[in-house]
Symmetry: C3
Subunit: 264 residues, 3 copies
């Protein structure tokens, strides 16, 4: 065990003020001393599995093949909820079985292999009831980058928990209703509309406001102007050039978004 050429990527709601992330990283380095550990984010909203899934989905393909992702948003820690590892897209994901990884089951063409983590020899010697990030998921991930095969870590399962993923639906001949699935650091509003739904001049409505401009890049809009745009996570976004679209529209995750195919 000497050279670790793939990273371990961490995604949690543990924040960055506490010892939680450090405890996970130290635990990993005890097992895999030189592996590079990458933070995806630790600022997922508390126990918001859906938000964690969005962030992971938006970036996991940017990582090298064989990367091991440790994704811990875990309100059920210590209960009977399962811990799983998933092989999909030539990468490995460990997580509580709470739906965080279910987009992998739906979107990848090759069938994901899903295992319940049952080999306690890969866990910490004493497993707490409150911190499986440190005691289960970090050590299992480190053992996998150090050479343990995923199928050695547990037993195959076929019934993982799945998140309900909202899809846009047709309201009538001229309107499709979707919703806001994420608001980013800049206040850009990420919708669940895929760009291939759009006509050349789409009109969106959020909280009673019409967004009639569609732009190719943010600064094509006037300063302060709202516009729709194809965002970097693969979805249509509503942005405000040099401002916060979410602030202007008082928008939040879950709010409805209406697409009118035709210009009025």
């Amino acid at each position: 065990v000497d050279n670790f050429r793939v990273p371990i990527a961490l995604l949690t709601d543990f924040g960055t003020r506490d010892y939680f992330v450090a405890a996970m990283k130290g635990t990993i380095l005890k097992i895999a001393p030189t592996v590079q550990i990458i933070d995806i984010t630790h600022d997922v909203a508390h126990q918001d599995v859906r938000s964690a899934a969005f962030i992971l989905q938006a970036c996991y393909r940017d990582f090298p093949e064989a990367t091991v992702f440790v994704c811990v948003v875990d309100p059920g820690v210590g209960s009977s909820r399962r811990a799983i590892a998933v092989e999909s897209a030539n990468r490995v994901f460990v997580s509580p079985d709470n739906g965080l990884l279910s987009f992998l089951f739906d979107h990848e063409t090759e069938r994901a292999k899903i295992y319940e983590l049952t080999d306690r020899s890969l866990f910490a010697r004493d497993v707490s009831n409150t911190f499986h990030g440190r005691d289960v998921f970090a050590p299992v991930a480190a053992h996998i980058v150090a050479g343990v095969r995923v199928e050695e870590a547990g037993c195959p399962i076929i019934d993982p928990v799945r998140l309900h993923v909202p899809l846009p639906g047709r309201l009538d001949a001229e309107q499709i209703q979707g919703e806001i699935i994420h608001i980013d650091h800049f206040g850009n509003i990420v919708t669940n509309f895929l760009p291939n739904l759009l006509t050349r001049e789409p009109i969106f409505e959020i909280n009673g406001v019409m967004i009639k401009r569609f732009v190719a890049y943010y600064s094509e809009a006037e300063p302060g102007e709202l516009a729709s745009i194809t965002g970097s996570a693969g979805f249509v976004e509503i942005s405000c050039n040099l401002g916060s679209a979410a602030g202007v529209l008082k928008a939040k995750v879950g709010d409805k978004v209406i697409l009118r195919n035709m210009r009025a």
Copy 2:
């Protein structure tokens, strides 16, 4: 100096908006080019040595042996306060001599070796009066992972500054009074009670509210219910399932916590 198999771990109150942490990391990499640098946290409350000590104490054993910890919460930077390195628990810690590391002197069975950092050849060429994280602690830590022995960095001392650590005390035959020592990212309240003090049905009181439920894992409590639990830092915590116990109880560090051994 080619392979660095142990990490350097950083713990500061420098925040993550400024150049402070980057300056420390760059300085380290000039001396130890491939060492992995791990952030414990940089969000310690300003100049709160006690909070930094809690976080370090909660995770240092999770790191590999020989890890070098750089712990800089340093209101006295530039004054005559000493800079120290401590060998303890098979790890190395550098810090201002302000009590941040004193738990190492109290809790480790093997005696800690404590040195005042006096070898200025290990410091930056020009040492500022305002930023010893960059000019003293980072370069000394890097030289240590690059092969300098701790005893070469300075002179042994026997009188390091010690923090006063509050311990729970008996109020009467039925009550013990402790206090809140940390509130975590989730709003869990960390007390200074060790789990071995607890009867099977402990009752806690914080700010006039009784907490009668004791659970093994967070979600064993009802949503919104307060409960005591053995936390992952080794202390009894008060948590609120799917909520913030500190928010519900308007609790802050230093507030009293009363344990009643018997159910009323």
Copy 3:
């Protein structure tokens, strides 16, 4: 491509809640699998090029030679603004051409070499209009640490965008007027006065308040006392021992600072 002995350092306004930084890091590791990636900060105020320039200027010399800096504060992403790489001070910097790097053109004695990034074979296969951090700057930086020479990445240019940098100016025989260029995590106020301007007993005025004390280190002032000090970024700062000078003075970036050379 096996050993990467120099780091890539990232400086953005992307925040740490989203997938943006992770996408950049994953992209880098696909090209340069074991390079160490250092975060300078991702908390630059939204689209504040000047603030990013200050932070970079304050720490880039602390990094090893040959470090590659990826600096992305990019309100014009997707527009016709150029992407550039700069060789200066024996280090490499990639960034949108928006002035973020212009201090390198002004301050380094050796002339900076500036290239427009034009070799699309170094970019992501599909370049979005909204996220050049991932699609342009991260892959170019990774190719450079992996061995591509900067001059292979593009064409020399001589007309990069330059930031206007405010300099202190004389008001009359006894007063010089400068301004606040940064407020740090502790509330220290960074001015654009260089320490060599100071007499032994400088008096500063900010927002009508006189600061008559000059100290060598923070805790030389009384708790709560305002004082001027030579800061670690090379400029005169106004600090408040154990407090926030910016809070006390209600100061913000751009506010005027007056220096009186003589004690009144």
